[in-house]
């Protein structure tokens, strides 16, 4: 019974309407309304986001979205950041580039996170996409400056080259000279991860000078302080700037040069870099501090008094990354000076020291939570915590969307009561109703997971380590957290029961990582057999899991939903639990 709509719009009109819808979630929702909307939407989707590169094949993406201009891909699981994923695990981008090179000569933007990118891939990008504009590689590896040279030489319309947190084989800094003299379209350049000792300053200077639209420039540590002035002189329009090493012999001429050039950068909103800071040179940035919204001092090994001075100059700060040298006293100053603060990350300066080297405790976090009404995202490393503090934090800052707390010593109890921190984290999830991301630490029992399952309804990503007593903990999370997309667990006593009882839940999530827990090989096989749309991958460097008894726990387990079936590029230490045999070697 098909009733023709009296007011059905022509496709062009619908397409125009859809063009205002940018977010993937909304686009996906639009495409599910009806068949004709699905068809129209897929032809006009310009940006594709693939959260797990193994969830779908390149060919499937290309088939569904014939005209996209921008793609974002993510590869390895998050715990790869902490060396829990062995080298060679996967996440190769080359197959994607190869498929797109044929189908999409007009591709403009590629954004990759935690993927293996080879020089070959970069060369193929340079060769295949004539209008290529944006390359953002975040936490990627596998390529060298030779690949970058290819990009520089061929991509005439390149606007953005961002290599944040990548591991690059630094063969030569001369890749920068491969940008032709006629090339002027650079808007954003982030080479902060590069390590080469010899930086090609003149090429860099010339590049900056002729690219008058340059808004973001993040240099690497090798660029000495006295060279910065020369570079900045030609780029007063910069909005975001990252210094190189911030130390030099103290010379008044270098100082005044630097201060002068910095103060002429009227648009500067974000500063970073600051390796090896010498406090004498810090006042050079005071003139720009009042406009700063983002400040990354997480490499600056300066002490609290200098940090306090700096931070007091920045009333408009929205984002601060800093080492724990700032101490509780510095955070108190931050709380009173920076009322616009939205994001704070405090990193440990001496994570492996047996004793605390600075006076940074839970008090600093409490101060900031009480004093900064807009604070919504926190990453905080400290050595002690109390339920009382966490409850205070939760009550005063219910607008947290990301709360990541790392108490450095695993299983540390409430230092006041010696109890587990269940109640504290329970308060966080209870009061912060919009919490999307949570990382737990300290001494925690199954109780905390009961709270999380009950209250954390908007939680999308949860990181758990050294916590819980039994499968009940995992069961609470899997059965209660409705919005859960990513779950990563290590060193917890979670085993087969909870996993298998909640198998269906796993298809609603992007991925589950579980390592050094108690999940048996038998359970993995069963899961793989019964859930064809899940890839159940066992990672075990001790050798094939079937060389041990079935009830032996596997070392690492990575489960993700996929419509592409098991992958074929697994290294020797990864086994997929297949529906057919239950075991397949790569």
């Amino acid at each position: 019974m098909h009733k023709k709509m009296a007011f059905s719009f022509p496709d062009e009109v619908l397409e125009h309407v859809f063009s205002f819808i940018q977010s993937d979630k909304d686009r996906n929702a639009v495409s599910m309304v009806c068949k004709s909307w699905y068809e129209i939407e897929r032809w006009c989707r310009r940006k594709v986001f693939v959260g797990n590169c193994y969830a779908v094949s390149p060919r499937m993406v290309i088939r569904r979205f014939p005209e996209f201009r921008s793609i974002e891909l993510k590869g390895k699981p998050h715990f790869a950041d902490f060396n829990l994923v062995p080298d060679g695990w996967g996440g190769y981008v080359f197959p994607w580039i190869a498929e797109m090179a044929g189908a999409y000569p007009w591709l403009e933007e590629i954004r990759l996170k935690r993927m293996v990118v080879t020089d070959e891939s970069l060369e193929l990008i340079a060769k295949s996409f004539k209008n290529f504009k944006v390359l953002v590689l975040s936490s990627c590896e596998g390529f060298s400056t030779d690949g970058l040279a290819a990009i520089a030489a061929s991509c005439k319309n390149l606007k953005e080259l961002d290599l944040r947190d990548c591991e690059v084989d630094d063969l030569s800094a001369h890749w920068l000279s491969h940008f032709p003299e006629t090339y002027t379209s650079l808007v954003s350049l982030n080479i902060s991860c590069l390590g080469s000792d010899e930086a090609s300053f003149s090429a860099l200077e010339r590049l900056v000078r002729r690219c008058t639209n340059l808004k973001t420039l993040r240099l690497n540590r090798a660029v000495p302080l006295d060279k910065i002035a020369n570079i900045l002189r030609h780029a007063p329009q910069l909005v975001e700037f990252g210094t190189g090493t911030y130390t030099a012999d103290v010379r008044p001429d270098v100082y005044s040069d630097l201060a002068g050039v910095l103060s002429s950068c009227k648009e500067l909103k974000s500063l970073s870099g600051f390796w090896d800071v010498i406090p004498d040179y810090l006042p050079a940035i005071y003139p720009v501090c009042s406009k700063l919204t983002s400040l990354n001092l997480s490499y600056a090994t300066i002490q609290s008094p200098d940090l306090i001075k700096l931070v007091s100059h920045c009333p408009n700060l929205q984002r601060l990354l800093v080492l724990d040298y700032i101490e509780d006293s510095g955070l108190e100053v931050l709380a009173s000076s920076c009322k616009d603060l939205q994001e704070l990350r405090v990193f440990p300066s001496d994570p492996f020291g047996a004793e605390p080297n600075v006076s940074l405790t839970e008090q600093g976090l409490v101060a900031v939570s009480l004093g900064c009404p807009k604070l919504q995202s926190v990453l905080y490393f400290c050595r002690r915590m109390s339920n009382e503090a966490l409850v205070t934090i939760a009550r005063s800052r219910p607008n947290f969307t990301r709360f990541r707390l790392c108490i450095i010593e695993p299983k540390t109890a409430d230092y006041l009561t010696l109890e587990p921190l269940d109640v504290g984290f329970g308060a966080i999830v209870q009061y912060c109703k919009d919490l999307r991301r949570l990382s737990l630490s300290g001494l925690l029992t199954d109780r905390v997971f009961e709270y999380i399952g009950t209250y954390a309804k908007k939680l999308e990503m949860l990181s758990v380590a050294f916590a819980g007593d039994s499968d009940l903990g995992l069961h609470h999370v899997l059965s209660g957290c409705e919005s859960l997309r990513k779950l990563e667990i290590r060193d917890c006593p979670f085993g087969d029961k909870a996993l298998l009882a909640n198998a269906a839940k796993l298809e609603t999530m992007r991925s589950l990582w579980i390592s050094s827990c108690a999940v048996s090989f038998a359970a993995c096989k069963l899961l793989g057999q019964k859930m064809p749309r899940l890839n159940v991958e066992v990672i075990d460097e001790r050798g094939p899991p079937d060389s041990r008894p079935e009830n032996c726990p596997v070392d690492k387990l990575y489960i993700y939903r996929s419509i592409a079936g098991p992958r074929f590029d697994m290294p020797p230490f990864v086994w997929t639990m297949d529906e057919d045999s239950g075991l397949r070697l790569s």
Binding site: G88, T247, P351, A354, E409, D469, G480, G495
Partner: protein, 285 residues
């Protein structure tokens, strides 16, 4: 307190597949669990919906095992150095750190892979900061050695060492082995001697079950030249050298990456012999 912990490292209960009474209890519990038919014990709760009742544990669908029922069996390569009172999980260190760290480690925390959760580049930067003051002596010593060498690379003025300069890739560095496509990474901070490093590399490349079928003999021969492979490294100037000739600390300040090279290819690669061989480099990637 001890009983409640599931994953205990080494210590009083004995490591490895030992015969302590504690372990045999574990074994019986394990076999008990595995004797249940798969259908009933390991039941899939496919009927459970996501929006279902929260916090309500369906006790009818079988007893949820607690830590006491289903403890983790000891793993062979347990962290031998961890004292029993430590509450840190005895997480097996990744293969590249499987060598027991005999020279006492500062705290238990540093024994655990990936904890605290800090990115490598940040760790390396911290290490560099903490060590930046120390090996000044090494750098001066190295300067003297370099003057003695004949064919060294022409050095840019900007390469002169500054006191706070980035000491390079101390921390995780790459290791490749001839014949094996996939490289690995090893954490130099976890080793205090060439012997320790070589043993770790042995475990990583020559004995891992997943590696290509090469039945090489046991003790680390990488250092004494008696195996068919030899351990080399690329230093900060890009030259390839044999590992083992300079003092360990000096090695740490100059190593960029490692390569386990076939002895046949390493002929002529004497300790002080510089070979700016870019083709070798491209082979590694």
């Amino acid at each position: 307190m001890e009983g409640g912990l599931v994953l205990l490292g080494g210590g009083a209960n004995g490591g490895g597949s030992g015969g302590s009474s504690g372990f045999s209890t574990n074994e019986s519990a394990m076999s008990e669990a595995s004797s249940y038919p798969a259908e009933t014990e390991l039941e899939l709760g496919l009927g459970l919906s996501i929006g279902g009742p929260t916090g309500k544990i369906n006790k009818a669908s079988g007893r949820i095992l607690t830590a006491k029922d289903f403890p983790v069996p000891r793993r062979a390569s347990m962290n031998g150095g961890t004292p029993p009172s430590v509450t840190v999980s005895g997480t097996k260190r990744a293969a590249d750190q499987s060598v027991p760290h005999d020279s006492g480690s500062p705290t238990a925390t540093s024994q655990v892979v990936g904890w605290p959760p800090i990115r490598s580049y940040r760790m390396n930067s911290l290490v560099n900061n903490n060590q930046a003051k120390a090996p000044r002596a090494e750098e001066e010593h190295k300067g003297i050695n370099e003057e003695e060498e004949e064919d060294k690379a022409i050095k840019d003025g900007s390469k002169l060492k500054k006191p706070n300069e980035n000491l390079g890739h101390i921390g995780f560095i790459k290791v490749n082995m001839d014949g094996i496509r996939i490289g690995r990474k090893v954490n130099l901070n976890a080793h205090s001697s060439y012997h320790s490093l070589a043993s770790a590399l042995d475990n990583m490349f020559l004995r891992s079950a997943g590696a290509e079928k090469q039945q090489l003999t046991m003790p680390s021969k990488l250092l004494d030249g008696s195996s068919e492979f030899v351990l080399t490294y690329e230093d900060k100037e890009g030259d390839w050298m044999l590992v083992g000739d300079v003092p360990w600390m000096m090695f740490l300040t100059s190593v960029r990456r490692l390569r386990i090279m076939k002895t046949s290819e390493a002929n002529g690669l004497a300790p002080r012999f510089h070979e700016r061989n870019r083709t070798q480099r491209s082979k590694l990637i």
